[in-house]
């Protein structure tokens, strides 16, 4: 065994190339607000500029085929890009984009050659960012219950309905969505999956007022939106995977969203902040709070972060070596969600009310500690609740059924 991620000399050369390119091209004045709802339009624009520059080199979505605008690179090379971006405090992509991470995977598996050629390159080159429109008032965990309808008229589909808890601040050029194309039809065989230009007449959206402005993994979304569809006309070309086959198309990206998409081999920046706070308080003479349990709490936090790191390392290894992956994605995701709540409690016990305020003078780490208090609650729900992660794990393990359930198609 070897737990170290080692690189070949060629990979080290690649790393040096990425590093010097980033030193030259990564704008130094990128915004990193603790609260993602506070990213300004200017800050968003810079993220997109960097995205387009990365896209030109094939580094925005490195592992997708170069014929569609991806980089055609290996998982190891993609990880190198991600690690180097992390040194500058960015994720890959450097802005919130469900298209490349999730939607594109479904298009790769289920799209026709023409559809791949039309939809993928703009995403991979960073020209288009996309939202993921799944959830509805009556369809949360029970995603198959979506009520937004699409019915065909000639070469077009006409869409009506509403999606909630979706998207991000600062809009999107495209979205992909799951709709009902056969009301009253059999469950799982009545859905279809569409690509939607967001400037289509009849599409409108409005921000939701939530406890925290988004807390999915990867680049932060900012404010989630309600998106309305009123007689929105789409070319039939935008239907991916065929009519009433949408559930299987969705199974591909859901598989990834349930814990497989994030390499999470980046450093734990919150941990570093907390240790710094704790040590500086000590050496500065006055701990922020009387807390007899401090070493214990910090040790628990450290242990949680180690388990999280190893679950993700294992998943990366399983995937990159072509080994079967079953319950492992949801397991890692479950750990991320659960440990976030434990960490929130530990920080509150360590720093008392200091952990709760964003005040410039009194708050900690420019609001990053306060944000974790709210964000950890919100983080329990996206990409499937804690209970749903367990439901999937149970099915994949065959608990009570004997026969383990197959995972969604990734290839």
């Amino acid at each position: 065994m070897n737990f170290e991620l080692t690189s070949t000399p060629e990979q080290e050369t690649f790393r040096a190339e990425v590093r010097s390119w980033l030193d030259e091209h990564a704008p130094p004045d990128m915004e990193h607000p603790a609260d993602p709802g506070q990213l300004t339009p200017g800050g968003y624009k810079k993220q997109r500029q960097l995205g387009r520059a990365l896209g030109k080199k094939g580094w925005l979505y490195p592992t997708y085929p170069s014929e569609y605008g991806g980089g055609g690179l290996s998982a190891e090379e993609a990880l190198i890009i991600e690690q180097e971006l992390d040194r500058h405090g960015f994720t890959l992509p450097p802005y919130y984009d469900s298209g490349g991470k999730l939607g594109a995977a479904s298009i790769m598996v289920w799209g026709t050659e023409e559809q791949k050629a039309a939809f993928l390159p703009p995403i991979f080159r960073g020209e288009v960012r996309t939202w993921q429109l799944l959830t509805e008032p009556e369809a949360g965990s029970d995603l198959a219950n979506v009520q937004t309808t699409a019915h065909r008229e000639g070469d077009e589909y006409i869409i009506n309905g509403q999606k909630i808890y979706v998207g991000s601040t600062h809009g999107a050029e495209m979205s992909w969505m799951l709709v009902n194309t056969h009301p009253g039809g059999p469950r799982h065989q009545n859905l279809s999956w569409f690509m939607v230009p967001m400037d289509s007449p009849g599409v409108t959206w409005a921000p939701m007022d939530l406890l925290f402005a988004g807390n999915e993994r990867g680049a932060a979304s900012g404010h989630k939106q309600t998106v309305y569809f009123e007689n929105v006309r789409l070319p039939a070309f935008n239907l991916i995977g065929g009519e009433n086959n949408g559930w299987r198309v969705a199974a591909t990206h859901l598989e990834l969203e349930h814990g497989l998409m994030q390499t999470s081999l980046r450093g734990d920046s919150l941990w570093e902040r907390v240790v710094r706070l704790y040590k500086e308080d000590k050496s500065g003479g006055t701990p922020l709070m009387d807390c007899p349990d401090a070493p214990n709490l910090l040790a628990d936090m450290y242990i949680d972060s180690q388990i999280g790191r190893l679950f993700h390392l294992r998943n990366y290894w399983l995937q990159s070596t072509g080994r079967p992956v079953t319950y492992h994605g949801p397991q890692a995701y479950l750990h991320v969600k659960r440990s976030a709540l434990r960490t929130a409690k530990a920080l509150h016990r360590l720093f008392g009310p200091y952990a709760l305020t964003t005040d410039q003078e009194v708050g900690l780490e420019d609001g990053h500690v306060e944000v974790q208090q709210r964000g950890s609650i919100v983080a329990q729900h996206p990409g499937g609740t804690v209970e749903i992660q367990k439901v999937i794990m149970a099915r994949r393990l065959g608990i009570g059924r004997g026969e383990p359930q197959k995972s969604g198609r990734l290839k």
């Binding site: 029970d142 007022d209 509150h348 009310p353 709760l356 005040d359 009194v362 209970e387």
Partner: protein, 369 residues
């Protein structure tokens, strides 16, 4: 043995519930959260008009002369909302501090005003190193012109927005910690709200504030300690009421939200969360009400019961909110739904007057461990 409320307590509870539902409605609380100060004032006046601020004020000062358990019944209903802390800071902690530590002159001057809703009080005790033991007081009281100069910074003061008076701790020339009743409108006092995931939390700067000799409370810091001990289970009752409301919301949602063709309450994982809340809330309720009874009956081991209840109630409110969020998923994090009003309050009350760790340390000491 009789674990029921008295008939008059039941009547008080029913009246309080109606009033709280009307005045401290979710809609009003969301407005308060967004900083509607006029509404805060209006609601306080209505609370005062109901005579509630005098619940613990002895009759000779114009109050009701109620027991701690009486006050707890009121607080329990305020907690359901969850109403702002002004009532607790003034009518519970403030009144008890005056009774325990005030001079006869101070009581005469202030208690009637509290009973009539004309004075509000905030406790300005905690400072840069947060905690509830007196060793942490750095604010200085220097003798000057027959009075004192107060100088220092109070951090994480609750409910200071409209306070007329501050209960302020300060270190005296002899090193002891004194307790002052300070007019909040004096020159040198500045009050600043702290933003974030907190409820009505402030920083108060005391910049060489000149206070008269008569503002020193003879009972000192020890009297404050006694007042806090008596107040804790009354605050616990607020947390019990809050847990009850969180439970009601969650049970209702588990029964009405349909996914996969079933009320989500039919899923055992969801049942687990609801059962956790009911267990937390009942543990908080009975530890709290026993502590109140022991204080009202002057039982020798009352302090032990207080620390048990304080540790249990703060933890119960915090964890009940977490469990409620699990059951509500997306809906629960929408501000307009109202659950986050509780979540926010549960965080503030988790450390206020000592977090569970603090009370467990004190409990161990009471138990001679």
């Amino acid at each position: 043995m009789d674990l029921a409320l008295t008939q008059s307590q039941e009547m008080l509870l029913a009246a309080a519930r109606g009033m709280v539902e009307r005045e401290y409605s979710k809609e009003n609380l969301l407005l308060l959260e967004s900083g509607d100060t006029d509404l805060a004032e209006t609601l306080w006046q209505k609370t005062a008009a109901a005579g509630w601020p005098g619940i613990l004020v002895p009759t000779k000062y114009g109050g009701e002369g109620g027991s701690l358990t009486d006050a707890a019944v009121l607080l329990q209903e305020l907690g359901r909302a969850p109403a702002p802390g002004t009532f607790f800071s003034t009518a519970v902690l403030g009144v008890l501090a005056l009774m325990e530590g005030g001079s006869e002159e101070q009581r005469d001057a202030v208690l009637p005003k509290i009973a009539f809703g004309e004075n509000r009080i905030a406790l300005a005790a905690t400072e840069s190193r947060y905690g509830w033991s007196k060793s942490l007081t750095l604010t200085r009281a220097t003798a000057s012109h027959g009075g004192y100069l107060l100088h220092g910074v109070k951090l994480f003061v609750q409910d200071a927005a409209n306070a007329d008076l501050l209960l302020c701790t300060a270190r005296m020339g002899d090193g002891e910690v004194g307790l002052f009743l300070v007019d909040a409108s004096l020159p040198g006092v500045s009050v600043r709200p702290l933003p974030g995931f907190v409820s009505d939390t402030f920083e108060i700067k005391l910049n060489n504030v000149e206070v008269p000799q008569a503002s020193l409370m003879p009972g000192g810091r020890d009297a404050l300690e006694q007042a806090i001990l008596q107040s804790l289970p009354v605050l616990g009752a607020y947390q019990v009421g809050a847990c009850e409301r969180v439970f009601d919301m969650t049970l209702d949602y588990a029964n009405t939200r349909i996914q996969f063709g079933l009320p989500i309450g039919r899923f055992q994982r969801v049942q687990d969360h609801v059962i956790q809340i009911v267990n937390l809330k009942d543990a908080a309720r009975w530890t709290t009400y026993e502590a109140l009874w022991k204080l009202d009956e002057s039982k020798p081991d009352a302090a032990t019961a207080v620390h048990v209840s304080a540790a249990v109630a703060s933890e119960a409110y915090y964890q009940s909110c977490n469990a409620a969020h699990e059951v509500h998923a997306g809906l629960g994090i929408m501000r307009e739904y109202g659950l986050t009003l509780h979540t926010r309050m549960s965080r503030t009350l988790y450390h206020y007057l000592g977090d569970p760790t603090h009370h467990k340390v004190r409990l161990a000491a009471e138990l001679g461990l």
